[in-house]
Symmetry: C2
Subunit: 457 residues, 2 copies
């Protein structure tokens, strides 16, 4: 598992703050055998490697022209099991979407061979998009969920892996039989991951009540107890769709709000990730802030299923912690770059009614995809940016130089640099017209976990 000491030479870009990028055009980052950043140099002239004691023999990885290093993306909400349905949802909305498309697919993960095929695929694919960490929902099946954890570990992707709990309003063919079985199954998944990754260094189990309507009070409370007993994080959905919000009101008549349902069960803590948060009231946002729970913003899914537009600017202004989630397959894309674009676009729809202040910039969307996500998963000290001591969770991005080339090189992707663009323009072009073809290589904890055909490390 030892990493070769490596110096990454070339421009690096990461988020300085919510609104500002730090663009170091003549950068150099040394990564040690522990996979951590040992030094960061910003103004290295002529890209010549200055003498660093102990680094004379280090391997060197250089960016190509118009290339740069960028922190790996953090997908704070993705249903790994729903990946084969990406793009298939018709005109459905949340509750009928679950019954028509989602439950039938998820239930088929009793077939381990099928699960292996899909999970290998989704981990490889998200890595190719530069996703170095993902918060996965699996299914109710223990063996398949454990297999997903194994796949993440073997492919080297940082992950939270959650076995889904649901003992109410779920189809007969796909549900937990009892409170006890939901808890027992969750414990089995925690135990498995503890076996393969005792320190939860790369893969961490996450307690995953599907969402309030599909869990009885008792199950929510039992999972809350488990959350406090084990200290492992927790993820669920909140306030995605109006019909769902009404359903929660009906099912939990004694709770003040959807958010209170989780709070009362002990499931609203600094280690809780709440996906969607589209229709939260001011009081709910205040409670979430007080409990220091985190928000996963899923714009593509919220639009696709006509759930609504989450008010990201409001949440940020009120001090909530927000990251991005692809929410495959409510969301059609497994790319967090595409999701950043969707976040920007949805913010413009919010701006059409709430005013210009709602608009998210390219820089802000990239912040949500990296630093924001790191805070959502509670790993802001380890990932999300390039500082000494942080893990090297990074991607090397390369943009095509049009130059005088008349020949279209489709393998180089769709971003075209004509020359004369500022670095800000180049980053904007990447966000709007980039795709996996621009991500040449991806590292997690210093280890190369993905490379494009033709990339020479």
């Amino acid at each position: 598992m030892a990493i070769e000491k490596t110096i990454y030479v070339g421009p690096f870009i990461h988020c300085e703050s919510l609104t500002e990028l730090d663009i170091a055009v003549n950068g150099m980052i040394g990564v040690g055998e522990d996979g951590k950043i040992a030094f960061v140099l910003r103004d290295v002239e002529g890209r010549q490697i200055p003498a660093q004691a102990g680094w004379e023999q280090a391997k060197v990885v250089r960016t190509p022209e118009y290339g740069f290093f960028f922190p790996g993306f953090i997908d704070t909400h993705i249903h790994a099991s729903q990946y084969p349905n990406a793009g298939v949802f018709g005109k459905s909305t949340l509750l009928d979407w679950l019954n028509t498309y989602t439950f039938p697919l998820e239930s088929s993960f009793s077939d381990l061979e099928k699960a292996a095929r899909i999970y290998n695929r989704v981990v490889a694919r998200t890595l190719s998009h530069g996703t170095t960490m993902a918060c996965y929902y699996a299914t109710v099946h223990v063996p398949a969920t454990n297999l997903l954890a194994d796949v993440c570990q073997s492919k080297g992707q940082r992950a939270f892996v959650g076995r889904v709990c649901m003992d109410r309003m779920s189809p007969d063919y796909y549900r937990d039989e009892s409170v006890e079985s939901a808890v027992t199954a969750t414990r089995q998944c925690i135990d498995h991951i503890r076996k393969i990754d005792p320190e939860f260094d790369l893969v961490t189990p996450i307690i995953t009540p599907r969402f309030a309507p599909s869990c009885t009070d008792e199950t929510l409370k039992a999972l809350g107890d488990l959350h406090h007993e084990t200290g492992v994080p927790c993820q669920t959905h909140v306030s995605e769709n109006k019909a769902e919000c009404q359903l929660v009101k009906d099912l939990f008549p004694h709770s003040l709000s959807y958010t209170h349902v989780y709070d009362e069960a002990g499931l609203l803590t600094p280690k809780t990730i709440l996906a969607h948060a589209v229709h939260l009231t001011k009081d709910e946002r205040a409670l979430i802030k007080q409990r220091q729970a985190k928000i996963s913003h899923c714009p593509a899914s919220n639009t696709a299923l006509t759930s609504g537009t989450a008010k990201v600017r409001t949440m940020l202004d009120e001090g909530l912690t927000v990251g991005l989630g692809t929410d495959v397959s409510g969301g059609y894309t497994s790319s967090l770059l595409a999701e950043a674009r969707e976040a920007i676009f949805v913010s413009r729809h919010v701006a059409m009614t709430d005013g210009d202040d709602a608009k998210l910039s390219v820089e802000e969307a990239l912040y949500l995809a990296t630093r924001g996500g790191a805070k959502v998963v509670g790993l802001e000290d380890r990932i999300g940016g390039f500082e000494v001591g942080k893990d090297w969770d990074a991607q090397m991005v390369s943009l095509s130089n049009v130059g005088d080339a008349m020949h279209l090189d489709q393998e180089a992707g769709l971003v075209e640099v004509f020359g004369g663009e500022s670095w800000d323009d180049k980053v904007a072009k990447w966000v709007y017209t980039g795709d996996d073809r621009n991500t040449q290589a991806v590292w997690v904890k210093g280890k190369l976990v993905h490379q494009r055909a033709g990339f020479k490390p």
Copy 2:
């Protein structure tokens, strides 16, 4: 220029109506030496070519597994000259966007070498996205506009090519000097195209007043006269942004509406393409319908520049003719497939306030991108679908078969077929997760105008 008689064997899909796809799984289409469809067979067993008198020696092009033929896309509104700015617009809205990003770039097309580089690029790129026809805005420069026409002809893309007219509210460094010079320059471009393509068979000139605010009454009227004198089509923008609408009110106090400005100038006819149409009143829509003018819907641009959401369902219900436009570079993408996705997503934002009926389906978005576009450009008898006598303007799409492959083939694109998907599902996957990697080959009038590396015709 002779085309080899060819039989295209494999599934073909085109739009039967606004809401329905015609999916012929065992299809076969014969295309003659004139580039026109000579026969269409739907149920050819075992993909064996039945005896067709006179077709024994024809070349055969077969789809790969999960491949299909689809009509070429028709981009009814794209600024070829703005292509280098795709993705670069910050938080601007229309009027400041023009001054900050657009006019400086467009004015640089006095440099023919630069124009050649960009125009070659944009035509090659849009062809690679399956765009067999585009309605281009060029710039005010006659030589560069003529060069764009030459590029379209040499690369074989069907196009309307428009020299932009603007003699008011335009920067000193980039404008028409007078009414006469605007008309003379437009005539020069019409004459050039008449020289290279006398029947306007592939490339057609189009009269292009930028938009009402940048043209004096006199120029609009003179261009209206030219439109009637020459019979060539006309394109402009209408009602894109609220500040722009107010500006038109101020500049044309005697006109009943933005749409009336064009009507009074003789520029609202069956051969007029109006881009955006975001804030039209009911009376304006009625006038457009009466005059049989056409609408180019540009959802990506309307969202990017926070212009608003065009009410496509309303326009369709009222009997207007609607196609899609990428509106590069207000729109970030030059792909009409991506634009179809944006149309679907914007329709969901409309649905959030106006109700579910506003939602566009995958089928409807594809209709707008093909048959709808064909009607917008007045070529519905020649392109947009696969019927005998129509031109073979088509693309061959190929989706990846995941099969048991653990290896990720990024060159095959992002669409993944796991097996068991219906054809409708496969088409939805293409629309939501497809890109130029799925378009293996593109033909216009029977001629191969683009092929992916590795495609064997």
